[in-house]
């Protein structure tokens, strides 16, 4: 219901906004010439169109529109898919969807293979002339096997009858299939089916596995036919499977063929037995010839027109079932773009864009589910708050060796098994944070961990990069000394460092933060340096002549002048850091958005993958918007100096 209304709303808003936009163009004065930036201002309605178009494409290609408007269509298409599945093998024998008969293509391939082996034998160094002629004799005998199979007159009566039988079965199925009450279901069978329908649930249901709380993949297309139309297809598919199996058991072997191939196999066997060890090459050739003969034996090769009747029956049924689909066929073509429902024995599944592009409604449901702190992903919530004692922070800040350098010894237990605390022991407790103070809320979870890594990497990059960059912009020694180092490591893609850094600094946060630090450092240095060296000399001279000290010139002239460059550098660095972070978390980790995506990939959880992609997009946007606000607030002179 929700999907339907949203789809309609989107369509209406797109059409409305386009109409509004066109009217606006007509009513506006055309005094701005082409190239005037005024022409790009405003245009909320185009934002709505753009956003709606994205949503619409998503709804369409994830087949959510199909699910919203025709919730039963997946189940019915699953039944159609069953027919397609059982027809697959049979159809493949005929030029229905292929270009030629299977028999034709097999004969073509085998003739080619026989020609190839003849060539090889004739040009071979390891075979003498007499052996060559024997082997080529075998090849010729093998190629003479084919006409024995394709000769209509040699075909066995029994085989003909069996083909006739199958054709009749297909015809009977076709005529039954047209009847209204096919497959003549009894009321008992119907009751049973109704129970199965009520048990199987709906299309695309998400369940939490009870107990563990982990999210299981249950993108499921209901299998049991829920509609009468579906039932028809389901029953026809069952019959077709039987016919299909019968056909593949059938062998077009007449006595003449059987004798020839038996003779050939025996001849080759005797020939190989009589060969000495030195004639290995000839023996191998003989073996390859037998292989070709055996392939011809087991392939379904029939005379050119022997299966015509059957082909017609199959085409007839195929057309019938297509006609029977009626409106469903249109739904399949238009609402299931880039793929369809595919049946595979005991299950039906979405194959095509519906598989890897989860439906917005499912994604939203799963996101809500994952946002619950009790569910999360791999027992860690996406973003939640943990109560942490302030003592832990104190313990983290104070170094542990404070306790070690105090005079005296740590308490030792007495003979009656009691430990008496002393001053040194107390201090140790304080510096390791082993005491109780008040608690404060601290955020934690996958999103927070990723955020923190980027934030720390960025902060360290700024703290070291900006002063160094300014220094390099102002001092000849610094420029010359650090330039080779920076220029050597800057052009290397940050990810190229990842495997090395993980080996050196480990898989913990240290390594990841360091990697991000490296990313942001080079950008910060370059931008700070460019800012410092770009300061107008007249401004510096003015400050100098007014009596400013070196420090004051740096603080009040050079730094504000390079701020725009630095802040732009930060914006660039944030983008680079995100990209690197996710890849770094792919390599190793226990938390973080990249980790979630990497694990979800292993379990084919496409919804989770898309959720992580959205979260990353949103966080990146958040960073960028925040920075833009900071830039507007702190450097109003940007672009005006």
């Amino acid at each position: 219901m929700l999907t339907q209304s949203i789809t309609i709303l989107i369509l209406v808003s797109i059409v409305g906004c386009i109409l509004y936009g066109r009217r606006l163009i007509k009513t506006e004065k055309v005094d701005a010439v082409f190239g005037n930036p005024e022409r790009a201002k405003g245009g909320t309605h185009w934002i709505i169109v753009g956003g709606s178009a994205i949503l619409l494409v998503w709804l369409y290609y994830s087949w959510d529109i199909a699910k919203g408007f025709y919730p039963k269509s997946a189940n019915e298409l699953c039944q159609v898919a069953k027919i397609n599945e059982s027809l697959l093998g049979l159809k493949y024998q005929f030029p229905i969807e292929e270009r030629e008969f299977k028999s034709t293509s097999i004969i073509k391939i085998e003739n080619k293979n026989l020609g190839k082996i003849t060539n090889e034998i004739q040009n071979s160094q390891g075979v003498n002339a007499q052996q060559k002629s024997t082997l080529i004799g075998f090849v010729n005998k093998t190629s003479q096997l084919i006409p024995l199979l394709t000769n209509e007159n040699l075909m066995e009566m029994d085989t003909k009858i069996k083909i006739k039988e199958m054709t009749d079965e297909l015809r009977l199925l076709s005529s039954n299939f047209q009847k209204k009450d096919y497959p003549f279901e009894t009321s008992a069978a119907k009751n049973e089916r109704q129970i199965a329908i009520s048990e199987q649930g709906d299309w695309g249901i998400t369940k939490i596995q009870s107990g563990t709380g982990s999210i299981e993949n249950t993108i499921e297309v209901p299998l049991v036919p829920a509609t009468n139309k579906g039932l028809k297809f389901h029953s026809a598919a069952e019959e077709l499977t039987i016919i299909n199996d019968k056909f593949f058991k059938l062998r077009n072997h007449n006595p003449q063929f059987k004798n020839s191939i038996k003779q050939l196999k025996e001849d080759i066997k005797i020939y190989r037995k009589n060969l000495s060890d030195a004639d290995e090459v000839a023996s191998d050739y003989a073996k390859d010839i037998v292989k070709i003969a055996r392939r011809i034996e087991y392939a379904s090769i029939y005379p050119p027109s022997a299966l015509n009747e059957m082909q017609n029956a199959i085409i007839e049924f195929d057309n019938l079932q297509k006609a029977e689909q009626g409106g469903l066929r249109l739904v399949d073509i238009f609402l299931f773009p880039a793929g369809t429902i595919v049946s595979s024995g005991t299950s039906c599944s979405e194959q095509g864009s519906g598989r890897w592009l989860p439906k917005p409604s499912d994604t939203l449901n799963k996101f809500i589910l994952m946002s619950k702190p009790s569910v999360g992903y791999k027992n860690i919530p996406l973003l939640w708050i943990d109560m942490m004692d302030v003592s832990k922070i104190i313990g983290f800040i104070l170094p542990d060796w404070i306790a070690d350098i105090l005079p005296g010894d740590y308490p030792v237990h007495s003979s009656d098994g009691v430990v008496k605390q002393n001053f040194k022991g107390q201090v140790l407790k304080v510096v390791t944070g082993d005491f109780k103070l008040f608690k404060i809320p601290v955020p934690y979870g996958h999103i927070w961990d990723s955020f923190l890594r980027v934030f720390l990497g960025l902060v360290f990059g700024i703290l070291i990069g900006v002063p160094l960059g300014l220094f390099m912009g102002l001092n000849r020694f610094a420029k010359g000394f650090f330039d080779p180092l920076i220029e050597l490591y800057r052009p290397v893609p940050p990810l190229a460092w990842a495997p090395l850094i993980i080996s050196v600094l480990g898989i913990d946060n240290t390594g990841k933060v360091f990697l991000l630090f490296m990313v942001s450092l080079s950008i910060m240095i370059i931008s700070a340096r460019a800012g410092a060296s770009g300061t107008q000399l007249s401004k510096i001279h003015a400050a100098h002549s007014l009596g400013a000290s070196n420090k004051q010139i740096l603080r009040y002239v050079i730094f504000p002048n390079s701020l725009p460059e630095i802040l732009t550098g930060i914006r660039v660095a944030v983008g680079m850091c995100w990209g690197t972070l996710v890849a770094a978390e792919f390599l190793a980790g226990t938390t973080g958005i990249g980790f979630v995506e990497n694990v979800a990939k292993k379990y084919f959880q496409y919804e989770v993958i898309w959720i992580t992609i959205f979260i990353m997009g949103m966080l990146g946007l958040l960073f960028d918007v925040t920075l833009r606000k900071i830039i507007d607030k702190t450097i109003p002179w940007r672009g005006k100096g």
């Binding site: 793929g339 864009s353 390599l587 292993k602």
Partner: protein, 313 residues
């Protein structure tokens, strides 16, 4: 307006046509396999015997994990996956992928897939509960995860209390060497060799076998290929079993196998010693009521994804 509309319709049509699952007729058979994971039929791969037996070219592509094999099969780039791990297969059919299990490539003890604890940590089977609260590297969603789960049950440690880090075997070995993790579960000869240089197996091969921890690698195939080319599939499995037979009777060409699996002959022999290549009859037994069947049931696999009709019995 007309231009916009026709552009939109045109692009939708183009997209629909291009994305649809394309799979041409079998002018070649595309097979996925692993490096560093030797098997007798790699000799046939090296000598192009498969192409001779199937009558069409056979293209072998190596993968690093079984999940990627499934992805490639679903995208229509691979027809047959040889020696895919059972766990990735189960994950795939649980998410309703149209692939089928048609043969067992090999059964193996902990020789090929194992958990290694670092010597520096001092953790062995006896004090394995110390793993709780520490970091362990596990390639999730692979056979190694199954081995990890089962080993933890044997030694009585609680998986939920450990810090499990998702790592592929090569990185897991590196992390064990650098001391970042105290235990690393891995597969692949070279990775295990690197890991055992600084650590030792949590369970020896014999202990694992006694505990009934058993890895099974399988041959899986797309439903489409199975339906369209049953003959080729049967031949493929037949050649594989012939190669296994040759290996059992000691006639395999070890040099060509080692070349194909990119391992040294000695390392390969050691890895192979942990493998058991079943006869067709044993395979059927395992698939219908033996190890494989028990494994599938134990993991709650949907039924109807195993087909024994292609075995050369």
């Amino acid at each position: 307006m007309k231009k916009i509309l026709s552009f939109l319709l045109g692009s939708i049509l183009a997209l629909n046509l291009t994305i649809s699952v394309a799979n041409s007729a079998a002018n070649e058979v595309r097979v996925a396999y692993f490096l560093e994971w030797p098997s007798p039929n790699l000799e046939d791969m090296q000598k192009k015997n498969f192409a001779k037996a199937l009558g069409v070219p056979v293209k072998w592509t190596n993968f690093t994990n079984g999940g990627a094999m499934t992805d490639a099969m679903l995208a229509g780039d691979i027809d047959i996956s040889y020696s895919q791990g059972l766990v990735p297969f189960i994950n795939a059919v649980k998410s309703k992928a149209p692939i089928k299990l048609v043969d067992i490539a090999m059964e193996y003890g902990m020789g090929g897939t194992t958990c290694v604890t670092s010597n520096a940590s001092g953790i062995t089977k006896a004090n394995a509960t110390e793993l709780e609260g520490k970091k362990v590297a596990v390639p999730l969603g692979t056979m190694a995860e199954y081995v990890f789960d089962e080993s933890m049950k044997v030694v009585g440690a609680d998986r939920g209390k450990m810090d499990i880090i998702q790592m592929d075997p090569e990185e897991g070995a590196a992390a064990l060497v650098s001391g970042d993790v105290v235990m690393s579960c891995l597969f692949g000869g070279n990775s295990i060799k690197a890991a055992t240089a600084v650590g030792s197996r949590l369970l020896t091969v014999q202990e694992a076998r006694d505990a009934g921890i058993l890895g099974i690698d399988i041959t899986s195939v797309t439903t489409k290929f199975m339906k369209e080319n049953p003959g080729m599939l049967r031949t493929f499995i037949e050649v594989t079993h012939e190669a296994n037979d040759r290996y059992r009777s000691g006639k395999s060409d070890m040099n060509s196998m080692s070349k194909a699996s990119e391992m040294k002959v000695a390392d390969m022999k050691e890895t192979l010693s942990g493998f058991k290549f079943l006869t067709p009859a044993e395979t059927k037994q395992s698939m219908t009521k033996g190890n494989l069947d028990a494994f599938l049931k134990g993991m709650g696999t949907p039924r109807g994804n195993v087909d024994t009709s292609f075995l050369p019995l």
